[in-house]
Each structure stands twice: as C-alpha cells, then as structure tokens.
Symmetry: C2
Subunit: 335 residues, 2 copies
C-alpha cells in the first residue's frame, strides 16, 4: 500500500467506487457544484461593495479583489501576492471561488470559516496594512455605507463582525456551477470528450482522487506536501504545523480545490508550478510516486480544464463616496 | 476686467448667456451628457477586458482600472497614484469618466486622444512598468484574446495600435448621462433643489462657468492654475509647458471635468484639496479673486453634487486565462 493511501483514509472508500464502470453522478467521488442561495440580498450587495473597496487598506489601493480577483479565477495569478508597500507575500493567494466549500480557510486552515478569514488580510501589516478599528471608523463616516449596514443588519452601528459577515455572505455566492464536467456528472455524456473522460479515469486510477474529491474536488482535508518524495518549497510556510504546533502537521496544507484550476495558476502553496502540465507531473511524483507519460499527463490536464464553471456574473459595484470627514488613505506613509 | 476673464475668451460669451433669467437646456452653458453609441460591440468588449487586465503591467498587478477605478468615479481617490513597485506618482489620476469629451488627454494634454493616451501608462516605468512589445507578445500567447482580436479587427495579428484602439473604444462608452442636473437641463424643474439651483446661479455669476462649461463642465480648455493668486503646488508638474516649451504655458493645466466630481476627490492636479468645500474655496480665490461665504460655498458644493450621473453599468469582465507559453509577470524583479 502506498504512503499516500495510508495517510488518506478516504482513499480506500474512493478506490472501491472507482471499480464501477458505468459512471453516474450518484456514485462518482466528485459531485456537481450547486448554485448559491441568497437569503439576505442586502447583505450580499453590501459584502460585494466591501470586497471591492480599497479603502479597507491603509493605502486605499488594495481591496480583497486585488489578490482574489474575480476577473481571474478569484486569484491574482502571481506566484506570491503583493501587499502594502509592495511587500512580497509568503504564500500563493488561494482562489476565493467555491471557498465556502473548504473545511477551513487559508492554506493552513487557521480560520474556521469565511467570516473568520475576511478580517485577516485587512489587519495584516504585509497585506492590506490597516486595522479593524480604522476600517470600521472609516466606514462609519460614509453615509452610503451606513445606510447599507442599516438595511442589511437593521442597525447603522458598524463593527468588524458585521463587516466580515457581509464579505463572507458575498463570498458564499462565488460558486461556479455548470462546468462541462458537472454537465457530464448530471448525465450529458457528450459534455466532455473521449480524452477528457480518459483523463478523469486516470485521475481516479492513479489516486489523485484520494485527496481531490467532493464538490470542490479538494478543499476538504489537510495533506502533507510531499507524501512520497520531499517537496523543496520556495516558501517558508510550514502549513498546518503553524496552527497546531504538532510536528506531524509540518508541511500539511489544505488540499486546494481543482475547480476552475485552468484559471488559478500558478500552482501549489508556493506558486512554484507555472502550468497544469508541471503541477500534474509534480503531484503524481511527490504525492503518489507515479510518473505520467506525456500523453497521460495531457489527458489529466484536459480533464482538469473541464472543471471550469460559470464565473461570477454581476455588475461591477459602484462604491459610496467618502464624506468630508472620512480619513484619507496614506499610501506612502511608511509607519 | 479680471485676469481670468482676459485669459478665457469663452468667458465673454457665457457672461452674455448668464444674463438670461429663464434657464432652459437650449441656452445654458452646460449641456446634458448623451449616452454613448456603440458601433463595434466586439471591440468594446475586448477593450473592457484589456482595461481590467493587470497582465498589461510588468507586475501582473496593475491594470488601467487600478488608478482609473470604475467603482470609484474612474479615479483611485488617492492624492497621487501608486505605480510599479509602489512608486509615488507625480500627479493626481484624472477620471476616465466622460474623458472622451476632453480636448486632449493627461493634465498637460500631451496625448491628442484616448487612443494616444492608452499606450502611455503601460510603458511608463513609474506606472505599469511594462513595454508595448512585451504587452503585445503576452497577449498573442493567450488564445482567448487572439480570438477576440480576430472578432474585433478581422485579424488575429495583435499590435499596440489595436490594443489602444480597443481600450479607447471601451473608454468612449464611459459617459455618465442622466445626472439630476441634466434632468433639470432637460426641463424637469424639480430634479434639483432650491439651494442646488442657487449654487448653479452662483457658479455662473462668480465666473466658475468661464472654464467649467460644455457637456463635461470642463475638459475643453487649458488654464493657468493660479490666475489671480499663485498656487503653491505639492507636485513638480509644469503643465502644458512640458508639451509646448512655451513659458506662457507654464502651470497651464487642462481644466478638469466637474462631472461626478463628488466621487473624484481629492482635487487639483496635485490632489491637494481633500474636499469639495476646500476645492471650491481655493478655486474661487486663486482663479477668480473671490471669497465665498460658507453659505455660498455650501450652495456651490450642493450644485456640484447634482452632476453625478449614471455610473458605468456592466458585468465584471472575465479575463481569458494565460496559456503555458504566456510569460509570467515579474512583480518583484527590480530591473
């Protein structure tokens, strides 16, 4: 038994599933993405504005959308992100798309959910460089925001809990249903090509599915980066160890979703793999001890590209203007 | 006769107009904004994607929309913009909204039109820090873009002329009709309040209208910053002098549009005025040798806020993903 299978208890279950020949959505280890249900539209609209608002950063230049760009698969497509004063981030920005399906947030899972995550970058000196107190104080001076908070929460008193709740509510809508693979899962056998299907079969047979499964094709477990062969990361990140302090968790990272993976390059927590070809090759080698032929690799990559779903479709939000009493951003203040 | 009137030949014409008491759109010195007519929708869609695409910068982080943010009145709401590697820009980013109505582009008018402007920031080392050759080469490796250029231009050969033409075509759609003031101009006398109308009368009577007139309420002449009283700029910019080399053009800047001015703070080419109150006070003093009472100032500001029109309404564009051969951005490369 391979080390990867030993560490993934779920792998055994899926191995059993893979044995079935006539695939239907019901017994596949990947399930279709379902559309988001919006229960409080005012909250989602407010969250959308906050998500796009660079005034939540010290500089007035960096918004959530700067590094989790919804025009680009919910990422920045940069190896590691750019923070306040052009600081080089320590890790690759994970996609916000379908992030509501993750078991926890950040690569090391240090935030339990989207709301807990949303406050992080705002106050991180290496990211947006602001503070929760300053962000809330700023928002409270903007009449347009005060009115929207009142509409969403029934009160015009703003606090960081409401800010992050609104951002999380918007982020929960950022699911990407209707990929070609989901159409196939739902019974449209012509939605994917013969090669793409062959790639999916390889993806299951080789064992990728052991960790990349479920509706998000990942996001539901922590796994060691380098199960079979050590991974030489270009990032200092220690993964789950930083949260639990347990040696066994060193270099354990949240398995990323493979939904929209065609758009979320570069890959891995250190952004070291520029292409899907490279990422598939490395993963097979260091996680599963396998080597794909170029033809096999191409088929797996073709399958992965069928996971691109409907991207978020909404009007660019128009932000309420600052008032005379709104503190102005200080982008060039080094303190 | 005041120096401002001497230098603005148009002023005399408008002074005559101001004498009329029953204002109608026909004889007002400000005309309503008309909606944009799109003749080549494929070109506009392509231009919209390019406008939002940070891959046109060396870092992969800065797009046209970074400094001319369409969520924020087509500006960045920062005193002077942030460029590649967090460089501090020399001048305040003018709004892209209604910029097709300007007599020329940039504060000093060094670009004749939007197409000529669009190439500037891409190749400016202090802004997007890229080059036209690199930008075109990058686009040519992206199949989604190649297809869109073919659709818009009938050829899949990309060049910088086509890139800037597409961006300009999108920018031409960024007009903001239907402001409350335009509704008033068109005959809806209840569209603006008594105080707002009084502010407009003051705006004309005091002479602001001499330079801020036409559909864009500005943008149609160069004028000296500090006609009556010298202006102590916090920016080294020399204005039109940098283009013509004529001493008479020193500190002559393009008169900015006042459309959506409520959203385009801070004000002036050096971004020194944080509020409309401050901007109106300074302008009256240094351009016209007048001092508004606080009540007068408030009325003029109230009028200016009626110039906010319908903001651009479109879906956030989804950018075509890079291919394996697309050169990756190099944000932390200092060369």
């Amino acid at each position: 038994m391979k080390p990867s299978a030993l560490s993934c208890t779920v792998a055994l279950i899926f191995t059993a599933m893979i044995g079935q020949s006539a695939a239907t959505a019901g017994n596949e280890p990947i399930q279709p993405i379902t559309s988001a249900k919006v229960t409080n539209p005012a909250l989602v609209e407010l969250g959308k504005k906050l998500y796009f608002d660079p005034r939540l950063s010290k500089s007035g230049f960096i918004s959530c959308n700067s590094c989790h760009n919804l025009s680009m698969g919910g990422t920045d497509n940069i190896k590691t992100s750019i923070g306040h004063h052009w600081q080089e981030g320590p890790i690759n920005a994970p996609t916000v798309l379908n992030s509501s399906l993750n078991l926890a947030q950040f690569w090391d899972g240090r935030a339990a959910d989207l709301q807990a995550q949303a406050g992080g970058p705002i106050a991180n000196p290496g990211e947006m460089g602001f503070s929760h107190t300053l962000a809330v104080g700023m928002l409270q001076t903007i009449p347009g925001y005060v009115a929207e908070f009142k509409k969403a929460f029934g009160s015009d008193q703003i606090d960081i809990d409401k800010v992050t709740k609104a951002i999380a509510a918007f982020e929960e809508t950022l699911v990407t249903p209707n990929s070609r693979f989901d159409q196939w899962l739902k019974g449209n056998k012509r939605a994917i090509s013969k090669d793409e299907l062959a790639g999916y079969q390889l993806f299951k047979k080789t064992g990728c599915i052991a960790c990349h499964n479920g509706p998000a094709v990942g996001g539901n477990s922590f796994q060691k980066m380098g199960q079979v062969e050590a991974y030489k990361a270009s990032s200092p990140a220690e993964g789950r160890f930083a949260v639990t302090g347990k040696e066994a968790d060193r270099f354990n990272f949240k398995v990323p979703t493979l939904r929209n993976v065609e758009m979320t390059y570069p890959y891995f927590h250190d952004g070291a793999a520029n292409t899907l070809t490279e990422a598939v090759d490395t993963m097979a080698r260091i996680q599963l001890g396998k080597r794909f032929t170029p033809e096999e690799n191409a088929k797996v990559v073709a399958f992965l590209k069928t996971l691109t779903g409907d991207q978020p479709a909404f009007r660019l939000p128009i932000l309420p203007p600052s008032s005379d009493s709104t503190p102005r951003p200080t982008p060039f203040d080094r303190k």
